[in-house]
Symmetry: C2
Subunit: 491 residues, 2 copies
Amino acid sequence: MAAEEDAEALAAARPLLTDLYQVTMALGYWRAGRARDHADFELSFRRCPFGGAFSLFAGLRDCVRFLRAFHLRDTDVQFLASKLPPDTDPAFFEHLRGLDCSRVTLRALPEGSLAFPGVPLLQVSGPLLVVQLLETPLLCLVGYASLVATNAARLRLIAGPEKRLLELGLRRAQGPDGGLTASTYSYLGGFDGSSNVLAGQLRGVPVAGTLAHSFITSFSGSEVPPEPMLAPAVSEGPAVNLPAHVKVWLERVCAHLGLGKQEPHPGERAAFVAYALAFPQAFQGLLDSYSVRRFQMPWLERISITVSNNVDEEELARLVQEGSEVDGIGIGTSVVTCPQQPSLGCVYKLVCVGGQPRMKLTEDPEKQTLPGKKAAFRLLDADGSPLLDLLQLAEEPSPQPGQELRVWPRGAQEPRTVRPAQVELLLGLWVHRGQLCQPLPPLAESRAFAQRSLGHLRAAHRRLQSPEQYQVALSEQLQALVGSLSPRSSP
Amino acid sequence: MAAEEDAEALAAARPLLTDLYQVTMALGYWRAGRARDHADFELSFRRCPFGGAFSLFAGLRDCVRFLRAFHLRDTDVQFLASKLPPDTDPAFFEHLRGLDCSRVTLRALPEGSLAFPGVPLLQVSGPLLVVQLLETPLLCLVGYASLVATNAARLRLIAGPEKRLLELGLRRAQGPDGGLTASTYSYLGGFDGSSNVLAGQLRGVPVAGTLAHSFITSFSGSEVPPEPMLAPAVSEGPAVNLPAHVKVWLERVCAHLGLGKQEPHPGERAAFVAYALAFPQAFQGLLDSYSVRRFQMPWLERISITVSNNVDEEELARLVQEGSEVDGIGIGTSVVTCPQQPSLGCVYKLVCVGGQPRMKLTEDPEKQTLPGKKAAFRLLDADGSPLLDLLQLAEEPSPQPGQELRVWPRGAQEPRTVRPAQVELLLGLWVHRGQLCQPLPPLAESRAFAQRSLGHLRAAHRRLQSPEQYQVALSEQLQALVGSLSPRSSP
């Protein structure tokens, strides 16, 4: 695995995966003597995707890997120098050469968490220049991962817990890493596996697949398999006459698919016999109608691939409501490309610099940022279901279970009171001054966490169409700070 | 650049970026003694994207790189062994260890070509097992690159040749490589550049950018720049009093944006002074109203980024029709995620094996494949505009300029005659038995080729809404072969 990991690490560490303006701003900060000012940025989204009331957060492992590997090589600095004015002070490039994330601290929701608008997914603190440079890569790594995980979670909610959902979209993904990201995070969001072998190799995603149509068309029937008698599985009786079994099985499949009595093409028979010779155990499984539910049927996989362009939320709901006998469903384009909404639209905003809270002033209240370094809590009911997420200033005391507190729901004109039965601290410390503080959980664990979290969410919020919005509220102190920094409050 | 190229080559060479069923089929072919059968596959799409009548072909350079680097390492083979039945013959894995593309031949359209439904973008020939394994990576590499290039070409047609179009979508891309692919191929499709620095470094895409809102919010006004007097550019007169100039300039920008007389926040003034100190030449340019057209104005870039979530084809058309003074337009989400249609839906079909033509039999005529190894020609009018694309069997003589020939338009019941003034051979030989046969043109050259090709396309086909479909026709021999292999022709 070492070579693979090296390639991945190299790919992850591409520090120029950023917008040029991050670099020109870096020069601006440096020239103003502010490169090392301590800055706090928050990454969040403004609206849940797909018309829903929840999102899953994903991509933390990629962000951590990026931060820890972040370093500008000589070739990178030379390239940047070629894009900046020729009279730029060489000392700036010396500064860039010495950059890394050894003074950067990252707090984040756990991977697979429920996430809501305005609640930070990531908090990134460190020298202004370097945390500014991280903006684009972090947005890129979190946005799509969270979007596809949320998309997968919605499809899982529609399918119910039993149906086997496979992601088959690598060929439709937006670039190779788009495919790898999609396979990884659709699994995190609730799929059972993927056809993408690389996602299995690099991320441990369960992989699945049998055969495609080209295998069938490659046989004309004249290719007599060298040994059409299938040896028995260990201690499982006599040899099997494959061609005869394939004939019976193809008839069954045709009947199952409602195709009536069709005479399979001789090439089809030969192809299945050849496949059975390669996978005798799996094929014997196919002959057993119970096992049809445990193994993918080659013919059905053909169907699912054909259908995969069209299996969207609506079609999946139809398949499920029909109580279809098919319990494995392959989804390609509509899980990986998220056609309902192809981008989560995250933002990365400066909330504090040199200890002073900052706020983006704008007339659009949705785009107004929340100033100051914050703590975030999820207030829960006695049954463990979330009541609301509370944002407050980092220095305020934590809310206590059983104690009533007054909070300002975002966008509301009036405060409300709430008495949580339980309180969860949302943002954990993952990287402190460049050092990993706790191990990242395995992907399968984050997947289970996501499913448990979704299970606790009230049905009204979990509903996919016209859900009730989940409340995010500010503490009184934070609300007061917003007021004091808003333009209308100035004289 | 060596280290970068290594990282890229490693990333490109990930041979397990494929669907598991390619591997199970490989075992099936091998077990049937057919691994080395000579096979011909064609990669094409069925319908032009976005409701248009043309597509651009892109991704060839990535395919060539993938083929040339293709090789399964020991760790890859071990991983595959862990996913196949434990009793799989070890000789199969030995076969996999020895695989490469040294017997694979690739023909393709030139990068940036106009492409139409059913006309092969790629023809891949070689041993059945290996060319089957290439299916998923080639579909992944061609599909999105072509889609985003076509999307960019449409936006360029709307914008006209003069407007400066910048791709700003890295943060909204579907994974890091999604961003790199989007930046590269939106440039190929007709954009002027990208904000993505890595696309500049690795692909030579022009990069651009100035500053974002966080730079402004990071200043409160108390940060007095150390030297507010700007030294003159070489031989350009006296020193400039920056704060005074910034004040004037901000007023002009506000007026230009129709914001009326606003008093800029002291932090805004300080931010622009700091920026001007870092980029004195560019800023002096900004002070000159002519140069506003040559350099991006920081304030306008803020606007374009804000707007970038919303600049789609319709909004761009509106901006252009208004004759807006803005001549640089940044587009993010809608160019990189292709929300109108997020996948091109390419297919990779076996057309010939062991010299025998093969055809996928299906009741859906659109999904029927065209059998046999083919040649493709573009028949042109005297003015160089394409009349139709002709597919014929590889062994047929080429159509000749000035000679009338009878062809069967796809889907038509009757043949038609056509007399081309010029004939172009469409599919060039790029890789012959693993060896690159001709250098790949630089990206900028492919970009210019795409623009020239689009310029020759008749307006009726180039039109973005309700265009006239461009004809793809079969030779009489190919038409006869299709007929002989179709189910209805069998007794």
